[in-house]
Every structure is written in structure tokens, then in C-alpha cells.
């Protein structure tokens, strides 16, 4: 199913992909990780890309971020073909597109204090010339947005924080950067169910505040259903189904989607274990 089937449109198109493909390796080890996919994401929309391990979800995220090259196809950002051929152009691109990753422990440089993480964001957004007080005020504001106390965090190193706190601090970064697009790659798979609710709430609050597009990458279809407006189901590098969350999850068409839904434990229906 192509992206044209999606009827939901919240705002203007912010990110569009045409025939995006990624090939890894050569010869015998050649792997087609992402196979000619089309997508069209709009401002203020929450999109979920759902699939099993190895279906190519993270590869798409990395291509969108520009961390790895695109073998074939083109990506349009804000209606124009993106240009990330040099480092300074990439830096400019990253002002508009940011990411939160799965493992909060490896998202930080262990030698840098937490203040530096937030200061870098302020500097990137053109706040290099701000006074010390102004910078501190911004950092305090960002921390209180994610229910952390800046006074308790200042002068600490990342290892002194818990996983949930680290992940929330990553969201504080996003609050400072205010990007147009946020890619959240399994942001809650390493925290417990309670912190998960907090983190999801914060992401959605942030979306409402700055009209950000969130691309949510997950293997948990329940989570995708809860957070997103649009769901893309991915199997072996291709989108097999796409549409509004209600239509995809409640009336799945593709056999793969049906299987994914049946694999998640539910509380109002019997969980059928015989299908694996």
C-alpha cells in the first residue's frame, strides 16, 4: 500500500520520501534493508513505524536523519530536496530534525557533565552569546518541563542518573532545540511501564506546544495505537499497510499486521499462544 492511501492531513508536508532504498554490503552479503518506500509526513502528525526486529525500521530512521546515506530515491524536507552534502549543511538540517534513541545510557558522552549536554543545545540554536543567567534560566525551564530539577542535576555526570531520568533529559534537549521533526526510536523500551507513561505524555505535550511531527519507531503495536495518528506497518523493508491508527489496528488487512496484533498480550481478549 502506498502513502497516497492516507487521508489524514494535519498540516503541510514536512518530510517526504520517494523510492527510498538502502542496500548494505556487496556481492553475496548484499542485503536490501529498505526497499523503495514512499512516505509523506505532515506537520503536527504523530506517525508510528511498526515492525519486527530486522524489518528496517531503524534504517529508515537513520536515513531520514542523514546518519547513513540513501542508496536510491530522494527525501524532501519542507517541500525542497534536502541537501546534506557537507558538515555545515548537515548541522543546519539537524536544527530541524532531531532524535531520541532507545538506549539512554549510550546517548550521552560519559565524560561530559549534564550541563554541557544542555549548553550544546543552546549554542546550536544560536544562544552562544547569551549571558550566563539567561542560559541557566533556559536550562531550568527545560528541566522543569520534564519534571526534573535543574539544581539537583547541575555538575552531575550521566552515570549518576537513572535510565528514566536520562531519557527525560533527552526530551529536555528536544524542548530546547524545538525541531520540526522528532524521530523517537523505541524511546521507552528500556524503561519500566510507569516511566513509559511519563515519557509518552511529555512527548505528546511537546507536540502540542511546538507543533512538532513525531516519527515513532516501535515493535509494540499497542504503544503505536496509543500515541499515533498514522501507522505504517513494515515487513522486510517494505510498508505492507498504512493508514490511520484506528483503521490499521482495529481492522487490519495485511496478514503480517494481523500476526503482530495477535502477538501482543491483551487484557480483554484471550491471548492465543498456539499461533507461533
Amino acid at each position: 500500500m502506498s502513502a497516497e492511501a492516507i487521508k489524514i492531513k494535519k498540516g503541510d508536508s514536512v518530510l517526504k520520501g520517494e523510492g527510498v532504498t538502502k542496500l548494505f554490503g556487496y556481492g553475496k552479503t548484499r542485503t536490501l534493508a529498505v526497499d523503495h518506500v514512499d512516505f509523506d509526513f505532515h506537520a503536527g502528525e504523530v506517525i508510528s513505524i511498526v515492525g519486527e526486529s530486522g524489518s528496517g525500521k531503524t534504517t529508515i530512521a537513520k536515513m531520514i536523519l542523514g546518519l547513513i546515506g540513501v542508496t536510491e530515491g530522494s527525501v524532501y524536507f519542507n517541500g525542497t530536496l534536502r541537501d546534506i552534502s557537507s558538515h555545515s549543511k548537515k548541522k543546519e538540517y539537524w536544527k530541524g530534525i532531531q532524535a531520541v534513541f532507545q538506549d539512554p545510557f549510550s546517548s550521552y558522552n560519559i565524560f561530559h557533565k549534564i550541563d554541557d549536554v544542555l549548553l550544546d543545545c543552546i549554542n546550536l540554536m544560536g544562544g552562544r552569546g547569551y549571558s550566563k543567567e539567561k542560559k541557566e534560566e533556559l536550562m531550568t525551564e527545560a528541566c522543569s518541563f520534564v519534571n526534573l530539577k535543574y539544581a539537583e542535576l547541575t555538575n552531575k555526570y550521566p552515570f549518576e542518573l537513572s535510565g528514566g531520568q536520562m531519557q527525560r533529559l533527552m526530551i529536555a534537549r528536544i524542548f530546547l532545540l524545538k525541531p520540526k521533526i522528532l524521530i523517537a526510536d523505541e524511546p521507552t523500551s528500556m524503561v519500566d511501564a510507569c516511566s513509559r507513561a511519563t515519557i509518552l505524555d511529555m512527548l505528546l505535550k511537546l507536540r502540542d506546544e511546538i507543533d512538532m511531527t513525531i516519527i515513532f519507531i516501535t515493535h509494540d503495536i499497542g504503544l503505536a495505537y496509543y500515541v499515533s495518528d498514522t501507522v505504517y506497518i513494515m515487513e522486510h523493508g517494505k510498508f505492507v499497510e498504512a493508514g490511520s491508527a484506528d483503521s490499521v489496528i482495529l481492522t487490519p488487512q495485511a496478514p503480517y499486521t494481523k500476526r503482530l496484533i495477535s502477538d501482543v498480550p491483551k487484557i480483554h481478549e484471550e491471548w492465543d499462544l498456539s499461533t507461533v
Binding site: 511501564a193 507513561a197 504503544l223 487484557i267 499462544l273
Partner: protein, 334 residues
């Protein structure tokens, strides 16, 4: 009522840090599991779930220390035993443990069959390698694992396969109790289902007699276990059957946990997720009185004054809250 396989009475264990401070991670837990039953333990990170699992094995190594209480497996009290006796006679054939990162528990330089030989030789040094191989092939076939796995190294297996192999290895001696500490939280949903199916099979085919399943995923617990116990700050706060706990939680903390359930079912999008504010207390100096009082919406000043004991209600249910059940139901109803 079936035969009681595992009984724990008022178990207390602590960690001693390198500054000689004590952290009371398990503080007076009592539980009972009957033959053929499974118990789920739920709670946030840092509530003492994993420490309880480690303590239940009766095998203590620094910094974990035993303080008081009894662990009785099938009539035998193991809590007073020497560590060496426990390792030789209890671990593996009475009680088996699957750690959280079981996937990383396999030494990459050994073939899978070597682990099985190690486990069996620790208990029966005279058993020949051929016998062990036959036994392993039979057990693997019974659990739906291909026998080719035995001759492979850990790196050749996928995450889900590694996890299932670890479970097969740790239950090769048919222990009475299996303790699984988040066995599926690092896997995707499909591999998770396979792991759960395998654990169910172990129970149905009688290779294990009872199971303790630890996770923070409540929908999973609901589908896997018969009873659920909720832990908070080293203590049990509520216990009941899986159905009662998910649809009718009584303690404010359990109520909060149930508010974080996400399932792909109609109507879940309209329900707002409710997180419990704050973090669990530091167990170096556990708060006086109710340990949850600081984060509880319904707390009153008396909550922090004296220790609250476990109150029984309904059929085999228990909770630890200053209010009685009827009052709590009334409050939630408003």
C-alpha cells in the same frame, strides 16, 4: 488446595555497600505457591523485585546478605544452609533462575551442549557425555527447539533463540521452582510470545512444578500467571489473582500501576495514561509508616506515623493500606 511447593515466611535480606551502609531491599515478604501454579511479581524499577528473586534462591553472595526469615521448598528449609550446600544440592534441581540478561549469559567460546554438560556434571559428575547428549536432544525436541542448536555457539543464535536455549539449559534437571526475572523484556513481541509459550509448555509437561515470573508489563503477567503480587519499596503491597489485580486493584499503588497499561484494543486511545509522580524511596532509610505515602494521592497525616500491617480481605487477597477496602473503592468511584 494443592501441595505447597514454595513457602516464604517473613524474608528479609539486605545489601551492604562498601561504606558499610545497609540497604533493606527485601523487607518482610511472605508468599506461598502451590503445585502447578505461577506467581507474577509486578512493580516499578527499584522496588526490590529482582532482589527478591535472588534472595529466593537461598544463595547469597556479597553485597547481598541474608537477615531473617524462612524459605521452604517442598518441605525443606533452605534458608539456614551453607552457600556451598545450596549451590550443590538446591540450585538447578530444586530451584532455577533465569536472569534478566539471560541472552548474555552464554559464554561465546563454548558450544551449547557444553553448558548442559556443565550443569549436569555439577550435580552428577559420573554421567557420560552420550547420556547427556541423548537427554538434551529429547528435552530440546519436546520444547520445540531444533537439536542443531546443541552444536552451535551462542553468536549463531538469534536473541529469542538464545533466551529459549538459556531456559532449556536452566531447567534441564526439572527444578521444582523456576524464577524468571524479566525473561522477555529485551525481545520483540513475536520472540516474546515464543518464550512465553515455551514456559507454559514447561509447566504443562511437568518439567517445572511452579513458576515465579517477574516483570513490569502487566498485560503479560495477566496472561501468564495465576496470581499477581505487587511490590513496593521491598514490601508486598497487594496480592490477588491476576484477574482481580488487573480489573479491581485496591491499593493506590497498584491502582497507579494499572493506569499505565497499554494494549491494542478499541477504546484504549481515549483513556489517558496516568503515571505515578515521583520515584521509589531510597531503602537506606525507608520512610516511616506507609512507604508509598509520599507519592499517594489519598495520603493523610496518619499514613506516615506507624507501620501498616498486611490486611486480608475477600478470598485470599491482601493489601497494605491504612484505609479499608470499602473506603478505597468509594474513593476510586468518585
Amino acid at each position: 488446595m494443592g501441595k505447597v511447593i514454595l513457602e516464604v515466611k517473613d524474608l528479609k535480606t539486605k545489601y551492604i555497600t562498601r561504606f558499610k551502609e545497609a540497604v533493606y531491599a527485601v523487607d518482610g515478604v511472605s508468599l506461598k505457591i502451590e503445585e502447578g501454579k505461577s506467581l507474577g511479581i509486578a512493580g516499578e524499577s527499584g522496588c526490590g523485585k529482582s532482589t527478591l528473586a535472588l534472595s529466593l534462591m537461598g544463595y547469597y553472595f556479597a553485597p547481598l546478605h541474608y537477615t531473617s526469615g524462612e524459605i521452604i521448598i517442598d518441605g525443606v528449609n533452605i534458608s539456614g544452609m551453607k552457600a556451598d550446600t545450596v549451590r550443590k544440592n538446591i540450585l538447578g534441581n530444586e530451584i532455577a533462575y533465569i536472569p534478566q540478561a539471560a541472552m548474555n549469559a552464554l559464554n561465546p567460546t563454548q558450544k551449547i551442549i557444553k553448558f548442559l554438560e556443565d550443569v549436569i556434571h555439577a550435580h552428577d559428575p559420573k554421567k557420560s557425555k552420550n547420556d547427556i547428549y541423548d537427554m538434551a536432544v529429547e528435552r530440546f525436541a519436546d520444547l520445540g527447539l531444533p537439536k542443531e542448536v546443541l552444536q552451535k555457539h551462542a553468536v549463531e543464535l538469534s536473541g529469542g533463540m538464545k533466551q529459549r536455549t538459556v531456559i532449556a539449559i536452566s531447567t534441564i534437571l526439572s527444578p521444582k521452582v523456576l524464577i524468571a526475572d524479566e525473561p522477555s523484556s529485551a525481545l520483540d513481541v513475536t520472540s516474546q510470545k515464543m518464550v512465553i509459550k515455551m514456559m507454559r509448555e514447561l509447566m504443562e509437561k511437568g518439567y517445572i512444578k511452579s513458576m515465579i515470573f517477574i516483570t513490569h508489563e502487566l498485560p503479560l503477567l495477566y496472561n501468564v500467571t495465576d496470581d499477581i503480587m505487587v511490590m513496593y519499596a521491598g514490601q508486598m503491597v497487594e496480592k490477588g489473582t491476576a484477574k482481580e489485580m488487573v480489573f479491581d486493584p485496591i491499593h493506590p499503588y497498584s491502582k497507579g500501576l494499572m493506569g499505565s497499561i497499554i494494549v491494542p484494543e478499541e477504546g484504549t486511545r481515549d483513556v489517558k495514561l496516568e503515571a505515578i509522580p515521583g520515584t521509589p524511596p531510597n531503602l537506606k532509610n525507608p520512610p516511616k509508616g506507609c512507604r508509598f505515602a509520599a507519592r499517594c494521592k489519598y495520603a493523610k497525616p496518619e499514613c506516615g506515623v506507624y507501620e501498616i500491617s498486611e490486611k486480608k480481605f475477600g478470598e485470599n487477597r491482601m493489601h497494605r493500606c491504612i484505609y479499608d477496602v470499602d473506603h478505597l473503592r468509594e474513593v476510586y468511584g468518585e
